[in-house]
């Protein structure tokens, strides 16, 4: 087991390494210049000193080696070009928890409501309630998030001043973005849960459990839920990785100081260290989540054995 995970860990490490390499060169291949806007109108000599400051005067492969060196020897993601003096590490360390907070709250809304609706729909299969829930679910999937967020903002902050428009710090600030984040999730999770639930409900062991005289409550929560959770967990864990990087749309509309805006802004400003730093962050999270998933599988589904006997 330990050996298996060690092996996976090494694979994961290589995956991230290759991702870094690909992104690094891909990024330098695209047009655009991180300093263009900043120093474009400055004398040549000033420009040069600026490029030199960020090591951008060297050939790309050299920049790559320097970067890799700093990364592996000191865990240093470098310094942002757009925000001079700020280390990418610190920006991530500050922004990721904020993004994650919105993500977790949104996911919590999405998962709890989605699961509930999905289960209701499954039990009422073929009835109007089922159709209604599924229609709502589909509808929630079909609205672009920026439209929904804008409408939400308009009604709950401008029209009825229930929540602050933007800002960060209190719980009230997180409500709207989490709602907007959760909405789509409700639909996705409800649909997923419904089909999984129906699947499990049709299994013989559910009938067998009932035949032992279990109550409806126990059958629902101890047998069906337990078994329906496995597939759910497998789709949620990778999602958990991505909540740390936030969503650009919501973070822009609600001015949340998370990572999402930084990410898109970094890409469009060609803030190389920021882009790579965040890419590493995201892919590490993703790869880790896959590892965790494997681990969780073993925990929640006894049928899964990592090594055949």
């Amino acid at each position: 087991m330990a050996k298996y995970f060690l092996k996976r860990l090494i694979y994961a490490f290589f995956t991230v390494f290759i991702v870094i390499t690909i992104t690094f060169f891909l990024m330098h291949a695209i047009p655009g210049d991180p300093l263009g806007e900043l120093v474009g109108r400055l004398p040549q000599s000033v420009q040069e000193s600026y490029y030199a400051k960020y090591g951008l005067d060297k050939p790309v492969y050299q920049q790559y080696f320097i970067y890799i060196q700093n990364l592996f020897l000191r865990g240093d993601f470098g310094e942002s070009i757009v925000y001079p003096g700020r280390s990418v590490n610190s920006i991530i360390a500050r922004g990721a928890p904020i993004s994650a907070r919105i993500g977790i709250q949104g996911l919590a809304i999405g998962i709890s409501l989605g699961i509930t609706l999905g289960i209701i729909a499954a039990y009422k299969r073929g009835k109007w309630m089922d159709y209604f829930v599924m229609f709502v679910a589909l509808f929630s999937i079909s609205i672009p998030s920026f439209v929904f967020a804008a409408v939400l903002q308009y009604f709950l902050t401008v029209r009825y001043q229930i929540f602050p428009v933007t800002g960060w710090g209190t719980f009230a600030h997180t409500v709207l973005p989490a709602m907007a984040f959760g909405l789509r999730n409700i639909g996705v999770k409800a649909r997923f849960m419904r089909s999984t639930w129906l699947d499990v409900m049709g299994q013989d062991y559910v009938l067998a459990a009932e035949a032992t005289g279990m109550s409806k409550f126990d059958v629902t929560f101890k047998v069906i839920l337990r078994n329906a959770l496995t597939p759910l967990v497998t789709i949620i864990i990778p999602e958990l990785a991505f909540i740390f990087v936030g969503t650009f749309v919501l973070e822009t509309i609600f001015s949340i100081p998370g990572l999402g805006t930084y990410f898109i802004a970094a890409v469009s400003a060609r803030d190389y260290p920021m882009i790579i730093g965040q890419t590493i962050f995201i892919s590490t999270l993703y790869v880790t989540s896959m590892l965790v998933l494997d681990f969780v599988y073993v925990l929640i589904d006894p049928r899964v054995r990592l090594i055949k006997k």
Binding site: I18, I22, L138, I141, P144, F146, V147, A150, T279
Partner: protein, 310 residues
């Protein structure tokens, strides 16, 4: 083996049935081919058919809609700036006095093309990649899956943005950008299916008959992953349209003078308070289309589900 006594009864009811053909040996179901049968099942699904009809209508409108209104989608009109829907301009006009009805359908063209073509590209790529990986298995599979894993761990948004920047802006490059990340899921799914199908007895039978790998792929594997693929395609269309809308929101969508529903939503979102109709119409169209594609996809999934019915 058996002896039957001469029938002595005068009662007709109790005479042996002279019709010796045993009709139960016949087949109860009418003869329909697989697709006809699937279509028959699909037809019973009112919701899916409804969704299909709406989609056909929308597609029809994206083709002919712009010419119905009598306005060009780029024509500006100083006198008609930001006018709400009227008999002249059914969806109203935008900030430059352009007819939104016309623009909506022109934008629909782009959105739908991106959605449909993107989904097809996704599926074709995924089919080929996943098919090869699954069919050959072993080393090839391991390596190919590793590659996918790496591609999958590069943040999707980075890939999309990078690709849309490397290529010259335009619809084709948008499609490439949007599909670069999307086909991975398809490939994984196809691979899974192929791995499963490969072990099916009819493939073994084909091998026992001496069929070549190529003909096995062509005759057995491809047709059998087809239904999954069709469903997947319909489900991917909306997600691609969504991604395009997002790109439009961050300003990387289609380039002018072309527009798309996503771009129109992004513009409308800016003036939601003042001219809500500028947001409402494209939003309704985009949502309706997504809804219909999803519903159709669900319907197709049910209809095409190759549950080897017993």
């Amino acid at each position: 083996m058996s002896t039957v006594e001469k029938n002595t009864s005068k009662n007709f009811d109790f005479e042996f049935d002279s019709n010796k053909s045993l009709y139960a040996d016949g087949i109860v179901r009418p003869s329909l081919n697989y697709w006809q049968d699937a279509f028959r099942r699909l037809k019973k699904n009112k919701v899916a058919i409804g969704a299909g009809i709406i989609l056909i209508f929308i597609i029809f409108m994206t083709i002919f809609g712009p010419s119905i209104s009598g306005h060009s989608f780029t024509q500006m009109n100083r006198q008609m700036v930001n006018k709400p829907p009227s008999a002249e301009h059914w969806f109203g006009t935008d900030r430059m006095g352009r007819d939104l009805f016309t623009r909506a359908w022109v934008g629909g063209r782009v959105s739908i093309i991106i959605g449909v073509v993107g989904a097809i590209v996704n599926v074709v790529l995924g089919l080929i990649y996943g098919g090869v990986s699954g069919f050959f298995g072993g080393r090839v599979d391991t390596i190919m899956m590793r590659c996918i894993e790496i591609l999958g761990s590069i943040p999707k948004m980075i890939l999309i943005i990078l690709i849309s920047l490397i290529l010259k802006p335009g619809i084709p490059s948008l499609i490439v950008a949007l599909t670069i990340a999307g086909w991975i899921g398809t490939a994984r799914m196809v691979r899974g299916q192929v791995l499963q199908l490969k072990e099916m007895d009819f493939v073994t039978a084909s091998r026992a008959l001496g069929a070549s790998p190529f003909s096995i792929i062509k005759e057995h594997l491809v047709p059998n992953v087809m239904s999954t693929i069709i469903v997947l395609t319909t489900i991917q269309v909306p997600s691609l349209m969504f991604a395009e809308a997002f790109l439009s929101f961050i300003g990387l969508g289609v380039s002018s003078p072309n527009t798309s529903w996503g771009a129109m939503c992004a513009e409308g979102q800016q003036v939601i308070l003042f001219y809500p109709y500028q947001l409402i119409f494209p939003t309704i169209l985009i949502s309706l289309t997504m809804l219909c594609f999803n519903l159709l996809g669900d319907g197709l999934r049910d209809a095409l589900d190759p549950k080897l019915r017993r």
